[in-house]
């Protein structure tokens, strides 16, 4: 950060390589662990298929940029990209 100031310093707010950041990232987009019930269990409850799963999204990202989630880019102080943890059931009968 350049010399601090209470007011806008025009000199420091120009589009320049000073404010340029690398948008490169690699993120763990999805992880999922699922369990499909055995035929015995399914028959007992009258299901053709029953699967429960836990999954997650955007759990972490590798990036040189740390101020905010790098995928947001210029929109960085906006509503952040969400990391999500989920529990789901899929039932077919």
């Amino acid at each position: 950060m350049a010399r601090l100031s209470e007011g806008v310093v025009n000199n420091n707010n120009q589009v320049s390589s000073w404010w340029m950041r690398d948008g490169t990232f690699l993120r763990l987009k999805n992880v999922e662990l699922g369990y499909t019930f055995s035929r015995n269990v399914m028959e007992r409850i009258g299901a053709r298929n029953l699967r429960v799963y836990v999954n997650g999204m955007n759990l972490f990202a590798f990036s040189k940029f740390k101020l905010w989630d790098v995928e947001m880019g210029r929109n960085g102080i906006g509503y952040p990209v969400q990391a999500v943890y989920n529990l789901g059931i899929k039932f077919t009968f």
Binding site: D22, F37, L67, P80
Partner: protein, 986 residues
Amino acid sequence: MKEKLKQGKACLVKVLLTSALVMLMFIQAFAQNDLVRFGGKVNGTDGPVSGVTVSLKTGRVLGITNENGDFSFEVDPTSTLVLRHMEYEETELRVADYKPNSAGIYSVVVTLKQNSEIEIEETVVTGFGQREKRSTVVGSITTVDPKELKGPTGNLTNMMAGRVAGMIAFQRSGEPGADNANFFIRGLGSFGTGKQDPLILIDNVESTSTDMARLQPDDIASFSVLRDANAAAMYGARGANGVVLITTKLGKEGKTNFDFRVENTLSTNARNFAFTDNITYMEMANEAYLTRPVDASSGQGLPYWQNKIDNTKAGRDPLLYPNNNWIDQLIKDYTLNQRYNLSVAGGGARARYYLAGTYNVDNGLIKMDGINNFNNNIKLKNYSVRSNVDINFTPSTVGIIRVYAQFDDYTGPIGYRENNGNWVNGGQATFNRAVWSNPVMFPAAYPSSYMPYMNHPLFGNALNRNGGLFVNPYAEMVRGYQEYNTSTVMPQIEIRQDLGAILPGLNLTGMAYVRRYAFFEISRRYNPFYYGANVNPEGGINIRVLNDGSLGSIGQVGTEYLDYNESEKRVSSMFYAHAIANYNRRFGKHAVGGTLIGLIQNQLNGNAGSLQMSLPARNIGLSGRMTYGFDDRYIAEFNFGYNGSERFAQDSRMGFFPSFGLSYNISNEDYFEPLSSTVTNLKLRATYGFSGNDQIGRADQRFYYMSEVNMNNIDRGASFGELGTYSRPGISIGRYANSAITWERSEQMNLGLDLSLLNGLDVNVDVYKQTRSNILTGRTFIPSTMGLLADIVANTNKLESRGLDLMMNYNKTLSTDWWVNWRSTLTFAQSKILIADEPAYKEASRYTAGHPAGQWFGYIAERLFVDDQEVMNSPVQFGTPGVDYLGGDIKYRDLNGDGIISDLDKVALGYPENPELIYGFGGSVGYKSFDFSVFFQGSARSSFFINAENISPFYLNGGNQNGLLQAIADSYWSEDNRDLYAFWLV
């Protein structure tokens, strides 16, 4: 347009009547006494086969088998029948070989042998929802298993990055209702104001990315992306940006199948910004004040007295010495969301249905105030109902009726419109204000116990150094709410008529839909009452209202009631119809195919705002395809789109977009035989062709070929008379007619390779080059001495893009217990501006031509100035050296050496803002009942620029005063620590 539609309808009726007549004639011809009734069932490898053409060996076609594989005809007992079907070998039946039953009726069961030359293989949905066998596809089409797009999100577009080869996708916001990812097929193919995103078709219905976002992967039957000109040529002037084709599921014959999915999700910020502690904030604010020349006339001293800092540090009365972390105070740690999806599918031989209903709740992370009787957090509820019914009206006629209705109900904090006209959503505004608000001058609100008789929240505030009130981000957040509702309803009817009875291999399809969209929005809010605090001599604090409208009241006067504001309502209607004639037949080693498509489209906008905008938007088109395959080895394809758009002058309204393609199935060659035990498929593809983009320019400038003249412009009027009281308006020109304006034209070349190995590895690689010409641009460098009143636009710009799409999948069942798969894609897309509307610069570095679309230009920062001495001895930058900028401010490179930092020193910086490289990889492994999968997604070759004013601490802008991010507190230039690269490399 109506005339044509009528003709089309009349045509269809004629065809149906004629075919009925022809059938009757057949029946007549055979109604002779010595004929016998010969019938039976035709089976294939998977049960009955419908649509088998039954004809006499002498050539006359009798008819086709019904959906149960049954047929029955009256024939001469000495005749021979021939059964023909694409996927099976031709089979002859001699009537004399069979014995009739006691009633003299022949009933036979025939099992057809599968055609050894055509394996039953997956089909690919191509242009206009046609299905093509994977092996005969020539164009560059990628498909994704819809299951792969199922993730823990209610937004389909969030799952596409890294999973669709050829798609550059990224997500800039996580706000419910505004979290659609941006996506481009093969990157940006154009630049300027025209449409750059792909054409999205859901069951052939032209859709928005939000329509697509709301789709449930469970309901999707196929997801294909048409990437090259050959695949998209049939879409003519709509296809240049690529096409995303999605079809939804149809019911299957059999027992009713209920599919129910319920998900419960915990959602949290992937990364929050970190503020520093407020002691540091105040100390650095004081430093900011002292480190620059003090404007003595302001008469203001240090922003924060040591007394306040000490008391804050000691944690004394937080109402008097506020110590806010606005993110903690405005934003919840997590939120819970629910999703439910139910589908019911089934049916019989005559009719099948697929019904689905969805209810999703997406909550935001915004906190609420208990004293309000409304919810200001974001809550987006979306629900949809889908009904896809297909009915066999006759053995050769299928009717499909699809009805889809989707609704969004949203409530959330109130957004605002920026000075430049951009709308900022309420959630985004809340996060913005968390950064833009002073953390130590006022508490969010005082406890209501301070004034128990008040019905409104006691929001905190204070005077800022400009004499106004601060923006209290908490008050802004809870002061009201905004609601919007959208409805999209799409009924659609499709009729497919198999005309195999007349000409084997011929079928007709007619489809029409109506899409109605409605949107309305209401917001309600009150003006917050603000209170300031001071020390009560008896201990504790007193609070005092600041804006009650009395003498000395500051700012907007508070209210206890909600006001009401309705914004624009958007309604639109689209009508679309197409008719397709399709012919596919094999003659020995020769496979020929042809498709002819006619379409009309009419779009109406209910609140267009002007006469020209209110006129219906129309497109008509004729598209076609011809294919020829020899021996399943060589396939040639010709596609065209012939489109008309009302946006262009009458005599140049129609555009012709041809494309050619060749593919070579090497794996079907005889000499390849020795390898076929390892390589099951090896195919080369090459295409070359054109497509277009008629969605050019701004939406409010539809008819470039017409002039727009304002006959009543008061600004150009004149006043008469002694007193000048009689005035007449003048004439001004809003647009000059330019009949030469035309669509963007895209010339594309694509080379592809498909490889499948027996061990389960599938690889597709495509490389391409696209040249987009005729890109519309404003002619910015026409001298004002020309005397033109309106801006001039022309189709001058040109962009080239090239890249690579790669997909590599591996599937393997290792044993009865174990299976594994691997999926990966890589999309590299790079563009280069060939022609841009630019003057002749002296400095070559200033041309945008030669750089990618979306390239940013700016100054090269060298480092920070060491001291004021260096400032005075360097080229002049922005403002007066030594006054407006000092040692410790950014030093730029004077590229042209003229001693002044100006526009002439700007150069292209970094990569373009949209990434040039998107990739994804991951795998799944299953063991018995368990399955586990991981998927990584990456992005590279993009640069972005931090908006300095957004995050530079202490900037006072109106009532906003920026907070201090930890990263800045950790690394900044100070007089004691002259770090010349502070924060640069953070």
